[in-house]
Amino acid sequence: MASYLARRLTLAIPVLLGILFVTFSLTRLLPGDPCRSALGEKATDEICDAFNDRYGLNDPIYEQFRIYISDVLHGNLGESLKFGRPVTELMVERLPVTLELSFFAMLFAVTVGIPLGVISAYYHNSSIDVGTMIWANIGVSMPVFWLGLMLSYVFGVVLKDTPFWLPPTGRLTAGQSIEPFYVAWGLNVDGDALTLPGFIANINTLNALLVRDWDGFVDAFKHMVLPAIAVGTIPLSIIARMTRSSLLEVLGLNYIRTARAKGVREMGVVVKHGLRNALLPVVTIIGLSLGSLLSGAVLTETVFGLSGVGRILYDSITGRDYTVVQAFTLIIAVFFVFINLIVDALYAYLDPRIRLE
């Protein structure tokens, strides 16, 4: 198992280098002038020359690439052309929001989607099955943006003053704040060292758990509910449908007949013997749907007034803020490679035949 994972990890390195190269090239090939995007149309040639010099944009492309890689390896993701701030700082600010949202959306999708699929398969062809699948099909085609608006309207406006009200915008109620864990723990961090702790502290729910601030946790969590449902609905529907079809296929196999003949109860047959075998394609789908989940998160952030990577990524792309685009693309790619490793590990855990390959 360990050697299997080590092999997967090694395979990830060329993938990452490739991604680095592709994003670097793509951003350079985009039409548009970074200097004038950043400094405005009135910037003179002299000013732009100095700007380009400062950011190494006058160097030959391959030199820029070499410097870029070496910087990345040293943990230096560069400075935003537009904001003049280190990209890492922007990340510490924005990325936790998107990650937190994606996490809760996925949690929602998996914990609701898999049981729905199981129930549907268990009651195959009954009205429960048909009803669940109709909802799943509606869910798949739900526009995330619209769903977000509807949710915030219903739960934030219509249900105002009822116990079902949920905050439709922001990350915390005004006036509520959670003490960063490194302060609460009396850690002496500042400057560069702040990057990682700052990042973690900015994941509100996690930080609240770390400092055992239950009110803060509940508040932060409540703010996540609506956006997570909005973002998680499509993957939930995909997961539910996949679980159902995969399970139905597995339930027709010989070892399921054996399990029944052994006297295993039907629920046990479905969950213990069926589900684990049926989960392989579901895990694949979960890994794949992370892509749509991230793009959904980016869209939804605007609706729910969350300042995640969505807005900044959009602005950087339109503003030719190369360093920011590269950095975020890189981070997202690393995130995906990491998710793929988790998927591989889950595969190996679920199916002993894979471990041996």
Binding site: Y255, K262, R276, L350
Partner: protein, 340 residues
């Protein structure tokens, strides 16, 4: 007391272990009703091996699955009685049935490797049966599984218990299936073509094992096969099936010496004389009728030469009945009916 394989005498005073009366299991498909099992009756005594033979698709497996009430949709048992120790299994609740499966009646299947769950260790799968039926959740341990494996002759059971099914050969996997089937010492073992997927030497070992376990536990066995050689070697009594019905039943020696039904005669004629077991019985010309549109008379009529030789006319119009043509020898054929 262990019975020798061929000297079986039906006991008249005690209750038979299993009695099936006129069982019918149909599949209700879009194309019509598939009468997979259509009037099967048979009796299994304790300590007896009851052979169930017939061509592929004649309903052997469905008969077996009907006993356990494990017929998949769109199939349904439409009528009949399955008396197990005198109680009709078809009247049991679902809950009562799960308690019987694996405990009092076990099955082993044709494809051992695909019949074991690929993601669970064989030890886990063995322990599961014991935990379900013996109720000793915590006291049942790995060593019980090791014991079970040892009892079916698996070498190195200590190591094998940790194996996954894909790490085993077919013969080994079938032994595991048998160990699982025998774990709770069932009264009835249904072996559905237990050796078809195995090579000849392993086949003989597995059959020996089944016979040995039958002798040790006095259990009844239904041995399903389409290999007449295996039937001759193993069974005490044989039921021959054709297109969903039982066409002949007799003690094995009697059946092989004086087969009555023209179909059985064809089957026996198809056994190769010198050793070497045949894969399929294909010697009788013609095909099994479509189970949806059954001919109105005898189902074997389209392939039956005896019908023409004897100039029987009602074969194609009226279905013959299962009658006792000789003591303990039952047959469903107009050749033996009504000629008093």
């Amino acid at each position: 007391m262990t019975k020798h394989q061929h000297d079986f005498q039906p006991s008249t005073n005690s209750q038979p272990l299993l009695e099936i009366h006129d069982l019918r299991t149909y599949f209700f498909t879009r194309d019509g009703t598939v009468k997979a099992v259509d009037g099967v009756s048979l009796t299994v005594e304790r300590g007896q091996i009851h052979g169930l033979v017939g061509e592929s698709g004649c309903g052997k497996s469905m008969t077996a699955m009907s006993i356990l009430r494990l017929v998949d949709k769109p199939g349904r048992i439409v009528s009949g009685e399955v008396l197990f120790k005198g109680e009709d299994l078809l009247k049991k609740t679902r809950h009562e049935m799960t308690a019987i499966r694996g405990k009092q009646i076990s099955v082993i299947f044709q494809e051992p490797k695909s019949s074991l769950n690929p993601v669970l260790r064989v030890g886990t799968q063995l322990i599961e049966v014991l935990r379900i039926h013996e109720g000793k959740q915590r006291t049942i341990k790995r060593k019980d599984a090791v014991e079970q494996l040892r009892s079916v002759g698996i070498p190195d059971p200590d190591r094998r218990v940790e194996n996954y099914p894909h790490e085993m050969s077919g013969g080994m996997a079938q032994r595991v299936m048998i160990a699982m089937g025998m774990a709770c010492a069932p009264d009835l073992l249904i072996a559905d073509e237990p050796t078809t997927a195995l090579d000849v030497t392993i086949q003989a070992q597995v059959l020996d094992l089944i016979r040995k376990l039958r002798d040790e536990h006095e259990m009844g066995v239904i041995l399903i096969t389409h290999d007449m050689g295996i039937v001759a070697e193993m069974a005490d009594i044989v039921t021959v099936m054709y297109a969903g019905t039982a066409v002949e039943e007799a003690p094995t020696v009697e059946l092989f010496e004086t087969p009555l039904h023209p179909y059985t005669q064809g089957l026996i004629a198809s056994i190769p004389v010198m050793g070497q077991v045949k894969e399929r019985l294909e010697v009788i010309p013609g095909n099994v009728p479509n189970l949806i549109d059954m001919p109105p008379g005898c189902r074997f009529a389209p392939r039956c030469k005896a019908r023409i030789e004897h100039g029987l006319t009602r074969c194609e119009v009226e279905e013959p009945h299962m009658i006792e043509a000789k003591p303990n020898h039952f047959v469903r054929c107009w050749l033996y009916e009504g000629e008093s």
